[in-house]
């Protein structure tokens, strides 16, 4: 059983619908006992870092995520869920969970490409250049694109954590992974077939990062 961690951050139902479409049983919960019982945990999120962290702390879910990470259970972060597993976010200078060393930064103003100033948020489809193999991208065409919508991006301190990078006038880390944790800035649940394949791969993953 896959658990989607419930907190006040947006796109939880769309993740649920995508799991339903790939025939995967799931539960949406913020109850740590139910989360403990799940084989995999998905940590989604749309919204602001500060409010999300306040809610997670209130529910004790930040501490639960740390324990869960130690336990070896496969964890998948999506969008805001990816940003707040780092130590800190520039979004309202928020202290985050700190499963992975690093900070979440805001895109600089005046990013340029082909003579045009790029818009913020980075909204739309973009590709991911894999820096190394990861089981979640098994069977996916390297030219596949994914749906992004964000103004901040994760910047892990350890380069070994960077699995994929995306170009938006600058290269940023769009997929990171450490041990049993994998996290992406884009929305697999809104990225058509390649996105659904990533979710399938996650559900079949045992948490080994090779």
């Amino acid at each position: 059983m896959i658990a989607i961690i419930e907190y006040n951050a947006g796109n939880i139902t769309s993740v649920a619908r995508a799991l339903h479409a790939i025939g995967q049983d799931f539960v949406i919960t913020d109850d740590t006992k139910m989360l403990d019982a799940a084989s995999h945990a998905i940590f989604p999120g749309v919204g602001a870092a500060g409010e999300a962290m306040a809610y997670l702390k209130h529910k004790g879910l930040d501490a639960w995520l740390k324990t869960c990470f130690q336990s070896g259970k496969p964890i998948m972060g999506i969008c805001l869920g990816t940003q707040i597993i780092l130590n800190q976010s520039e979004e309202n200078d928020t202290n985050c969970i700190g499963l992975v060393a690093g900070v979440t930064k805001r895109f600089p103003e005046n990013l340029q490409a082909a003579g045009q100033t790029l818009k913020i948020p980075h909204m739309g489809w973009n590709s991911v250049a894999l820096k190394r193999h990861h089981p979640l991208f098994e069977g996916i065409d390297p030219a596949a694109e994914y749906y992004f919508v964000h103004s901040y991006y994760p910047s892990p301190s350890d380069h070994a954590a960077v699995v994929g990078i995306t170009d938006y006038g600058m290269n940023f880390c769009s997929v990171l992974a450490v041990k049993n944790l994998v996290a992406m800035q884009f929305h697999p649940e809104k990225s058509g077939r390649p996105g659904l394949q990533i979710l399938k791969n996650f559900c079949a993953w045992r948490g080994n990062d090779i």
Binding site: S14, R17, A21, P121, M123, N126, Y168, K190, G192, G195
Partner: protein, 259 residues
């Protein structure tokens, strides 16, 4: 690098497409959910639904459509038309839409943009703008004015001012529709699109006037649009989305080519 988005727009009334759309085997599809599935299969990057249901007691039908679309396609989609307040937004987003588009309601009650952005995030709020070309004047220095009620009513708002104001109020994206070009299939309003896109920091979807792939190429380059809305040219099967994307790709305009 980010791809330009190609977005079919479907008009829905009382839960049915207002015009049947011809697809495989020339069969007319009247069901918006089936049409959404077809465009998803053709490579649409996003889908826009515009609800033109007149009577408010039939609004629940649209919510049901949104729910069924959300179970069928796994790309973002937005819903506009008849969204008056935060409750309307909540119902549409709760049913599974990524974005809501506000148009007349935002002109009459600009605070709805800010309220929506606070409640759901800016990325959820699309400011829909219907624009007509007018004389350059004190009130409309850009030479473009915001109109509502399908173009029948002039608001006195300068289009460029309103685009910036919408951004300031918290809109995450602008869908810019030229009433002059709409339905003519003679090309987008390139000047208007470039003017707005150059002066806001949020993405701009160009709308109105698409008749052939060259029109999309123009608005995505000279018009500086981030995305292009299309309707008749795909609804009547003159082109498929896949054909349009291949054309754009040949013109070195990057779109998502794998789906």
């Amino acid at each position: 690098m980010i791809s330009k988005r190609i977005i079919p727009c479907l008009d829905v009334r009382d839960g049915k497409l207002t015009k049947g759309i011809k697809f495989k085997g020339n069969v007319d599809i009247g069901d918006p959910v089936e049409a959404a599935r077809e465009y998803y299969e053709q490579g649409a990057d996003e889908i826009v639904f515009y609800d033109i249901t007149a009577s408010s007691d039939k609004r629940d039908i649209m919510i049901d459509v949104v729910r069924r679309v959300a179970e069928t396609i796994f790309i973002p989609f937005s819903v506009g038309g008849g969204i008056r307040n935060l409750d309307d937004m909540r119902r549409v987003i709760g049913a599974g839409a990524e974005k809501i588009s506000v148009n007349s309601a935002a002109v009459q009650k600009p605070e709805i943009i800010t309220q929506g952005a606070k409640a759901f995030g800016s990325q959820c709020i699309v400011l829909g703008m219907d624009v007509k070309k007018v004389k350059v004047g004190k009130q409309t220095p850009s030479g473009y004015e915001i109109v509502i009620e399908g173009g029948r009513k002039y608001t006195g708002l300068d289009a460029l001012w309103w685009a910036r104001e919408g951004e300031r109020l918290g809109a995450g994206e602008i869908c810019l529709n030229s009433i002059d070009a709409d339905g003519m299939q003679d090309g987008y309003e390139i000047n208007l699109t470039a003017l707005v896109s150059d002066n806001v920091r949020i993405p701009v979807i160009a709308s109105g006037g698409a008749g052939k792939p060259e029109h999309l190429a123009d608005v995505l380059t000279a018009g500086k649009a981030d995305a292009a809305l299309i309707a008749s040219m795909v609804h009547y099967r003159t082109y498929t989305i896949s054909q349009i994307k291949h054309y754009l790709s040949d013109q070195n305009i990057k779109t998502r080519m794998l789906w």
